[in-house]
Symmetry: C2
């Protein structure tokens, strides 16, 4: 079975989106800054069906993040905010399991993405995603989902792309965590000019 | 004139001390974890008047942090918590300016440390520290002081030693910041096995 991984851009002060993130502005006020490092990369273009892009160290990191992913799990809030932006050919190209309290019919999109709505919790979502991933990794996304997986001891690895900015306010990656410390092991650090990629293994007890 | 710098250990989830940090437990519950990387280093021993210690990459980082510092500024809360632990020969070995609302007589300690109590704000503390530093850097410490200096546009560089742990709760390095984003420039990343040293320049407008 593959690993359960998370891959997320975070400001040095811990935010993954600016304030007021909603359908109009999925990354919140100022939050686009956190994804700037991605927009010119070859792998980003490929995922979004556009041409061109740079091939550099950051692009390799991005490629590695995508390459082993066989299925994705996200929260309903993230889905609702981004569904329209992701359009008919979403950038996932694998099955996406959306953890939600509100049932919805499975949606088959173009390019390999299918949206499944899972109403019985993250462990069920993980089982379904692991089956769908067929030996590859399951990548999870969104602050709430990442927090839930860490607290439940279900996350194997997290890569944080630290962006050199203090947003000041927004949506924190880590909040509502358990007061019991969770140890990480540094897997790898890649220092690029505009972003620092920190990959950790989550130590489970 | 030297730079104004900050140098601080932070958990990946943004804490510089655990909860309930007080005189009994200066780093709060679980907060010692954030300073573990320091205790065996040669420069740490030297500062604290003990023998031995390892000389490795982390020790070089620590040496660099100390080498250029001509004066220190900290908050009264940090001082009150740590004064006893720092003892008669505190680890600073330079003038220390304590920003406070409560006046107190200047205290001359052994080994080059003198405690000055500054009651008219951080800008005054900075002027006094810069005079005392005599061309060397002024190093500032404590979350409140660092936040105040960043918001006032007075911090030149910040080095964050990112510790691979999620503390879950404690004293955040960045809170009560301005909602206006502050850009940083990555100066240097040093990846050690147990800690990642991220040094940034603060971009001022």
């Amino acid at each position: 079975m593959g690993k359960v991984t998370a891959d997320i851009s975070m400001s040095l002060d811990g935010f993954i989106a600016g304030p007021h993130d909603d359908r109009e502005n999925g990354l919140g006020v100022g939050g686009e800054r956190l994804h700037e490092w991605l927009y010119d990369l070859s792998n980003f273009h490929e995922r979004h069906g556009t041409e061109g892009g740079v091939q550099n160290q950051d692009d390799e990191v991005l490629d590695e993040s995508f390459r082993n992913v066989g299925a994705v799990i996200i929260g309903r809030r993230m889905f609702d905010i981004a569904e329209e932006a992701w359009g008919d050919n979403p950038p996932f190209h694998v099955p996406v399991h959306i953890v939600t309290h509100r049932p919805r019919e499975t949606l088959v999109k173009e390019g390999g993405t299918t949206y499944f709505f899972v109403t019985d919790g993250i462990e069920s979502a993980l089982r379904q995603a692991q089956t769908a991933a067929d030996g590859k990794d399951v990548s999870i996304g969104g602050a709430n989902i990442i927090q839930g997986f860490i607290k439940a001891g279900l996350l194997d690895e997290i890569q944080v792309h630290v962006i050199p900015v203090l947003l000041g306010e927004g949506r924190p990656l880590f909040e509502n965590m358990s007061p019991d410390p969770i140890e990480l092991e540094i897997v790898r650090v890649i220092a690029s000019p505009e972003v620092t990629h920190l990959k950790y293994r989550v130590i489970k007890h």
